[in-house]
Structure formats: structure tokens, C-alpha cells
Symmetry: C2
Subunit: 334 residues, 2 copies
């Protein structure tokens, strides 16, 4: 068999503010060979997520990336060589395959998929994205029919699904997103009851009339001004599901401070809770069945924005923070 060429994006240096192509380095070389008990995986569809940016500056739920590391990323791939029981060439797998064509993996680091769904479904509504939205809305925010739910970053991959799940659960749902066009899209295409353009300023003032009965639950992808506005407008016993802090990842500023904490938490008995989807993985099958059913019935739309070619990965990540994507951002490695 001819040697396979492995194209890779290495992490070069930590951005001081906005991430761009200058923080990565392109390298080409021979693909690695799997050892005993290992498989060689070809990366097919790479998930581009706000968390990728966070790893470049510090440890989060994984360690900090170090210069020279292959840039990490979740992806769907295909087994092309196997020295491991239970996996054979042609099997579709998912895992942290990284920004590269080929990687050697141990089976325990991979999840085998059955080929029932295409890779955009697997990386979107049935992947980390959809599961994060599902468990965040139903298990952390614990929304109930008739409640008012606000979702920030509602134009993004997780937020767009989170808001739709809250609608399916019978809630009034208001999203925040950047720009009037994205706000229109939330209401017209995804069925949100209202949307606020955070870039227009005055988030709290804009949110208030859209939530005449106050806010019962808030799904927070951003932190910052929207979080502060939601806490101010929140009802007694409100819940905040803290999913991410994207307003802070791409700035050079020191960690954000949030006003109203702990004051509003005490006076309004608010529960604010961070979560990571992996903590709920023992219930993945249940969530996946629900999500697949909603997609099939048309109740849940899962838009994606797929760039073509591994060379596009840095631009795709930068684009997340420019707000260019509607829904799931991904790169088809090619």
C-alpha cells in the first residue's frame, strides 16, 4: 500500500485576543501506522466548536494545548486499518481525531456508529451539539411547559437546538444572537417566539417586553451582558444552565465579572449550574432516540454550515467568533 500523506494543523501559539490562521501551522508528512490493538482512522467531518478556542489559552475540561500539538477537535471518521478487535475498515467512528487526515486511535477512545445517520446528523443534532442542548435544557435548566426560556448564542449550533427543544417542551422561547438577519432566521425558520440582537445594545431593555412574565430558565452560551440581563429579569426559583462563556473566549481581557452574582441568586433563590455533556453520557441513547425522532418529524431543524477542505479549519474557527455561522460549524476534511 502506498504511504498515506497526513496533512495536519499544529497549534502554534496562544492567541492574545482573536484567533486566526497565524495561530496554526500546516504540516504534511507520512500517516502514522497503528500498533497492536490500535486502528488508523481517516478524519471525515470535523466539528468546529467554541471550546476549541478555549483550549488554546488554558485548561478547561481537557488540558491546555501546548505549541506543537496537533490541534484537537471532535470529528466523525472512518477506520482504514485495524489491528483491534471489534473495529474493521469501513466502520464509522467518532472521537477526538484532531485537525488532521489520519490518526492512530485505541478503540476505547472511539465510539462506533452504525451508519444509520449521515455524518452531518452525527456531528450535529445527534452529536455533542444536540446532546449538550438536550441535557442542558431538560436536565440542568429543567424547563416545564408554559415557562419562559431565554437562550443566548441562539444562532449557534447548541443554542439553535436548545431553543427548539424548549419549544418542543411547550415553553415560550426567546433567543439572543448577533445581527438582525440571524434574529429573523430564529423566529421565521426555527420557530422562536422572539429574538434580541445583542449587537444592537441594551439587551435587558430589549429582552424585558419579550418576557412579560419574567424568565424562568436561561440557557447560557455566552456569559456577559446577556447573563446579567437574564439574572435581572429572572423569576423566583429561576435556573441558569451554564453551558459556555463564548463572550470571553476570544478576548484578551481578564476573566469576566458578572454583576448581580450572588445578589440575585440569594433574593430570587436562583440555581446556576455549569455542566458538560460528558457527565450525561450514560443516558446518551435515550437522548439520541428523542433527538432523531424530532428531526424525523420536522419538529427539530438542525442547520449546518460546512466548509470544504482541511485547510479551511482555522478560518472556520475564527468564523465562529465573527458570528458567520447559522447552526453547526463543521469542516469536511476531503
Amino acid at each position: 500500500m502506498a504511504d498515506r500523506v497526513n496533512r495536519q494543523w499544529l497549534f502554534k501559539s496562544a492567541p492574545k485576543a482573536a484567533v486566526g490562521p497565524e495561530h496554526f501551522e500546516w504540516r504534511e508528512g507520512p500517516a502514522p501506522r497503528p500498533g497492536a490493538g490500535e486502528v488508523l482512522v481517516k478524519t471525515q467531518l470535523l466539528s468546529i466548536d467554541p471550546a476549541n478556542r478555549a483550549w488554546m489559552n488554558g485548561a478547561t475540561y481537557r488540558g491546555q494545548l501546548m505549541p506543537g500539538d496537533v490541534m484537537d477537535g471532535f470529528a466523525i471518521g472512518e477506520v482504514v486499518e485495524s489491528n483491534a478487535d471489534g473495529l474493521k475498515p469501513g466502520d464509522v467512528v467518532e472521537g477526538s481525531l484532531g485537525w488532521q487526515d489520519y490518526s492512530v486511535q485505541k478503540p476505547r477512545a472511539l465510539t462506533k456508529r452504525d451508519g444509520k445517520y449521515d455524518d452531518e446528523m452525527l456531528i450535529g443534532p445527534l452529536g455533542i451539539t444536540g446532546l449538550t442542548a438536550y441535557f442542558g435544557i431538560l436536565d440542568v435548566a429543567r424547563v416545564r411547559a408554559g415557562e419562559t426560556v431565554v437562550v443566548s448564542g441562539a444562532g449557534g449550533a447548541v443554542g439553535s437546538i436548545a431553543g427548539q427543544i424548549a419549544k418542543i417542551a411547550g415553553c415560550r422561547v426567546i433567543g439572543t444572537a448577533g445581527g438582525a438577519a440571524k434574529c429573523d432566521w430564529l423566529v421565521r425558520d426555527l420557530g422562536f417566539d422572539g429574538a434580541v440582537d445583542y449587537k444592537a445594545g441594551g439587551v435587558r431593555r430589549a429582552l424585558k417586553p419579550l418576557c412579560p412574565a419574567g424568565i424562568d430558565a436561561y440557557f447560557d452560551n455566552t456569559g456577559g451582558e446577556v447573563l446579567e440581563a437574564a439574572l435581572a429579569l429572572m423569576n423566583m426559583f429561576g435556573r441558569v444552565a451554564c453551558c459556555g462563556n463564548v463572550s470571553q473566549y476570544n478576548t484578551g481581557a481578564p476573566p469576566a465579572a458578572t454583576s448581580g452574582v450572588p445578589g440575585f441568586l440569594v433574593t430570587k433563590r436562583i440555581r446556576m449550574e455549569g455542566f458538560i455533556v460528558m457527565d450525561f453520557f450514560q443516558r446518551r441513547a435515550q437522548a439520541e432516540a428523542a433527538l432523531a425522532g424530532w428531526v424525523k418529524s420536522g419538529a427539530l431543524k438542525a442547520p449546518s454550515d460546512v466548509l470544504l477542505g482541511l485547510d479551511q479549519a482555522p478560518a472556520a474557527l475564527a468564523g465562529l467568533f465573527d458570528g458567520r455561522n447559522k447552526g453547526k460549524m463543521a469542516v469536511r476534511v476531503g
Copy 2:
């Protein structure tokens, strides 16, 4: 029966920063007479709490005080006249009796006590103070044996009991308090494993070596620098019970902003939850039995600082924020 004289402290104006006697006005007049279905209660022991200060500037879990209102406060009293079934002169009751000698009350606003405990027990470990500590540590922070628990405002009424309950539950307990003398007292007299003087500065640096295994639960009476330090040192799945925000009540500053929120909540899956003791009152008898047992066995000390005379009430409240009290601050009305 000769007319009773009713001495009262009226709320005069909202403090811009530190509360003092100038924010109250003394008035004397005839005591009111109870109508049908009402009782006249003589205030005996007045609870002085940080929340009293908060009411002066805004609504919390009760509405904002208005100038001219009798200053509100929780107290133990004795029924002196009764036109209501179920209450007779001599009965000991508790409720929001206010900063005054006499008040007319409806029975449903009072809780009748059985005289088994003296009034300092009733207002301290068996009252709002002890119940707040009990439910906050066990139900909100959900401490478990072997965990490290930090309590801020540990020299105060609630904090001193919260820390001791965490010790009884088998935790390593570190308190923060103002001044070396109070810190010594926490360790020597109340059995805390360590204490940090927040007035000496560098709370996080001082707390870190006292919590070598990180912090699992934090009982927050203060907000501010101690909250930020606790979030930074907190372990995965840590819990923050938000009981109060005393670092903010007595300043003229705008509402505090807390750094590390929501960042640490996401990366460490922290649950931060505000609570108010009234939400747990359906389980009051259970908590009271436990607290009384611990006091009786000597496992729980409930120190109090009682000033004599209703005229002392404004000074007692101001003293809470000067940190003069060790344990429960109260005023014996006389």
C-alpha cells in the same frame, strides 16, 4: 389597665453606605389595642440580622422599607392580651414583631413556642439562624463526610453554626472572618480546622494551603473576594450555597460583580444556588430536633452577643457590619 407605652424605632431614611443611628427615629406613644381575632405581643428579644440592612435599600425576600415604617425585625415575644383562639397571655411566640415594645398580630403571623427552650436558644440555634445554617449546609451545599468546606462570615450568627454543622457531618472546615482574634476563636472555641482573616488581604493565597485537597462546598455569607477565591479553588462538581451578600449591603457601591462567573461554573460543573430558610420550613421540626440535640450534647456551641435595651438596636445593627459580634447579635428589649 393603665395605658402601655410603646417605644418604637421608625425607619427614617435609606443609608447611602454604612448604616447608623441617624437612619432611625425614636418615637413613644400608647400601645395599640388588639381587635377581634388579634393579640397584643410584648417584644422580648430582637434578632439583629444582616438582612435588616438589606431591606433598607431595596426589596429582597420582603418589600423595601419605606420612611416612617416601624423598623422590621424578627423577635421572640410574649402574648399580653388575646382576642384570638389558641393564644393566651403568657404564651411565648415568634414572628416579625419589629423594633418596638408592643405590636398587634394575627395568630397566623406568629409561631407559638412551647417554653422548653430559653429565648436565646430560640432566636439562635433553633431560630432562623440555626435553621438557615442547617438547611444551607445539608440541603443546599449537600456536604459529605471527608469533604473540605469553606464558610465565609464564619464569626457571624449563621456562619458560626454552619461551620460547626459541617464539622458534625465529618468535613474539614475552614472559616473566613474579620480579624485575628475572631479567627483564633473559630479554631480554638468552635473547632474549625483553620481560619483566614479576610481583612489581612490575599484571601485566595491564605485559603489555598488550608484546603490542600481543594474546596468541595462553600457556604457564602459575603460574596466578594471570598466568593471569588472559593470559586478559583473549588473542585469539580463543587457546590456554593448562596446565603447572603453581606460584603455588599453596607456600601454605597453599585451591585458587586463576581469574577470567575460563569467561567468556573462551566469548566468545573459548579452548582451555585441561592436559598432562603423559609423555603424549607415544612421540615423545621426535623431540623430543630437535630439542632437541639447537638446543643445538648455540646457538639454545637451557639454563642450570642446580646445588647440590653431597645435603644441599642441601631448600634447593634451597625455593629454587625463593624464585625463586633461573635455569633448571634440580639437586643433584649427590656
